[in-house]
């Protein structure tokens, strides 16, 4: 690689391309198959989220947060609700906390399944994608049971949740977990330890920890680089401190620490950890209690600003909310994890081949709705 140089060519990947996971455009400078520079052009999905938020009340923001990271809406709802609650000093009932954790972790599994499945698709394996979607479908069915929506829930409200758990939900959830746990092994056999998959992902797109931190990369991508940083553990919000779970980090088992395979593997392990949390949460879920008890009549936070981080499936999801004492936020900024993840793309994929760029992009697990907001 790199001995013979030809004429450089600028290649446009996207905005419409099967592997950009949305409407992302990459201006790629290539020398033959080898990529020398990548310039991501974002903003094709910009919907003025922050401008919208300044013009609606605090309650009305929640559906907008759904639409930012549309594959992990529960986590977005949760992050927003917790931020506003902290600003207002609301304490929510224990049952609500448990329901929220259950929803967030189910959505984390669903989101990771989508990430891993489409990653398989990016490197050319079609079947694992459908297997994972089959299982994700069951989670979405459960969400439908809870709130009637399959993708954009508007379920977690400030101070509570919109509906109590329906009858028979706990049994359904246990049924799913019993079914799902052995499936992880199947994914591993089919994709994770596939020789070709390892060839395509191990040692590819290595992101050293200092680069990852400097680029603000968080979540599974950062943990893939071997940095043990998980807000659920290090800065527990809600009731995450009550649960016993591990924070998986990339160890470079099949290549270098911080390669695509590590990022993939961290997500796979996180699915298992989420199952662990879910089992504990379902077991400890309080029976009675009113989920609407702490919902304030009027959300009118006191003057002030707050920056609150939560762990979404993609990393540190933070809301910066400034209130001026009116029912509408004075300023609401969303720090989206995918935004920072995509910014590192140029740094880690220079010098790799075109096919690798697709593999690296897939391993970062971006959601354009969240990048462009």
């Amino acid at each position: 690689m790199g001995i013979i140089h030809g004429e450089e060519m600028v290649l446009n990947i996207g905005p419409q391309h099967p592997s950009t996971h949305g409407v992302l455009r990459l201006k790629v400078r290539t020398d033959g198959e080898v990529v020398s520079d990548i310039y991501p052009v974002i903003g094709y999905l910009h919907r003025c989220f922050e401008k919208h938020c300044e013009n609606v009340t605090y309650e009305q923001v929640i559906p907008y947060t759904d639409r930012c990271d549309y594959v992990a809406s529960m986590n977005n709802n949760l992050g927003y609700a917790i931020t506003v609650e902290e600003l207002m000093g609301i304490e929510v009932p224990e049952k609500v906390e448990y329901i929220r954790i259950i929803m967030a972790e189910f959505n984390r599994i669903a989101s990771h399944l989508l990430a891993l499945g489409t990653y398989g698709l990016d490197v050319g394996a079609f079947t694992p994608f459908l297997y994972m979607f089959r299982d994700r479908e069951r989670i979405l069915d459960m969400f439908e049971l809870i709130c009637g929506a399959r993708l954009l829930y508007n379920y977690i409200w400030v101070g509570g949740v919109s509906h109590d758990l329906p009858k028979g939900f706990v049994e359904t959830a246990y049924g799913f977990l019993d079914y799902f746990e052995p499936q992880v092994k199947e994914y591993n056999n089919l994709l994770t330890y596939n020789k070709i998959f390892i060839e395509r992902t191990a040692d590819v797109g290595v992101m050293p920890p200092d680069v990852a931190i400097s680029y603000g990369v968080t979540g599974p991508n950062l943990r893939g680089s071997g940095v043990k940083w998980d807000i659920r553990k290090d800065e527990p919000y809600s009731i995450y401190n009550k649960f016993d779970f591990e924070v998986p980090v990339g160890k470079g088992e099949l290549g270098t620490v911080g390669d695509c395979w590590d990022r993939y593997w961290v997500r796979m392990r996180e699915i298992e950890e989420s199952v662990k949390i879910l089992r504990q949460a379902l077991k400890a879920l309080p029976k009675g209690g009113d989920v609407h008890q702490a919902i304030p009549k009027k959300i009118r936070p006191p003057k002030g600003s707050i920056y609150k981080r939560t762990e979404s499936p993609r990393g540190d999801l933070a809301y910066y909310i400034t209130s001026d004492g009116t029912p509408k936020p004075y300023r609401l900024k969303m720090r989206s994890p995918a935004f920072t993840s995509i910014s590192v793309l140029n740094e880690i994929s220079r010098g790799w081949m075109l096919s690798d760029v697709i593999a690296i992009l897939g391993s970062l697990d971006i959601v354009l709705g969240e990048i462009d907001r």
């Binding site: 903003g43 910009h46 400097s214 603000g216 006191p302 002030g304 600003s305 300023r331 910014s343």
Partner: protein
């Protein structure tokens, strides 16, 4: 009636401050209960403020031996003041914890924040632009240290007529995109940025949309914005 209510609330808040939360939780009426909780929160906050100002006063006297209770922002403000004297404007905001920095000293201060052993803020979490009204723009930086596990917020206020802030794009690489986004939305010029272009909006967009005085354009490239208001608006 309202007097009764207020009295009840103040009573339970008093009790709760002494650690008896049941007093609040036992209230039947939901409205009163939530009001009581809000009042409790306010009371707690006030108590905290008193405490912190008290510790502030202490620091002034015994600056050489800072107390353990001082917040991270106070600690950092002292450290920053040691390194770059005169750079800190104030180390508490009106309502919340933060450090206000003079725009002129940001250039020399940013590398210190990144490299100093006691601060070691290796992760730039977020840059939030803000239109404070009255012709003031603010850029708010949330830093975090992966090693020391602490976080601070730094604010820099600049006038709208000359919104120049030194760019930290080369110190924290993510600053590149964050600053471009703030530039895109607020028109804050980050001097020294190598590629300060619009990020989310089209390159030929006019105006700074998140400023409070921004007026929505009537048309874009010949596409008119529909005037009809929806019902929910």
């Amino acid at each position: 009636m309202t007097d009764d209510r207020d009295k009840l609330i103040s009573e339970v808040v008093e009790k709760a401050l002494q650690g008896d939360m049941d007093a609040i939780n036992n209230i039947e009426d939901r409205v009163i209960r939530s009001k009581a909780k809000a009042a409790l929160h306010k009371a707690k906050k006030a108590a905290k403020a008193v405490e912190s100002s008290a510790s502030d006063a202490n620091e002034d006297k015994t600056e050489t031996s800072p107390k353990a209770e001082q917040t991270i922002h106070q600690k950092m403000a002292i450290l920053i003041e040691e390194k770059e004297s005169g750079s800190v404007i104030s180390q508490e905001g009106e309502e919340e914890a933060c450090i206000y920095i003079k725009p002129e000293s940001w250039e020399s201060l940013a590398p210190i924040l990144r490299n100093d052993d006691a601060m070691d803020f290796d992760s730039l979490q977020c840059i939030t632009g803000m239109d404070m009204g009255e012709g003031i723009l603010e850029s708010r930086y949330n830093f975090h240290s992966m090693k020391l596990r602490h976080a601070i917020e730094i604010r820099i206020a600049v006038p709208m007529e000359k919104p120049d802030i030194y760019s930290i794009e080369q110190i924290w690489r993510i600053g590149d995109w964050f600053e471009r986004e703030v530039y895109d939305m607020y028109g804050i010029i980050f001097t020294g940025h190598r590629n300060l272009k619009r990020m989310l909006l089209p390159d030929d967009w006019e105006g700074w949309p998140l400023r409070k005085d921004y007026e929505t354009p009537q048309s874009y490239h010949g596409i008119t914005v529909p005037k009809v208001k929806e019902e929910w608006e």
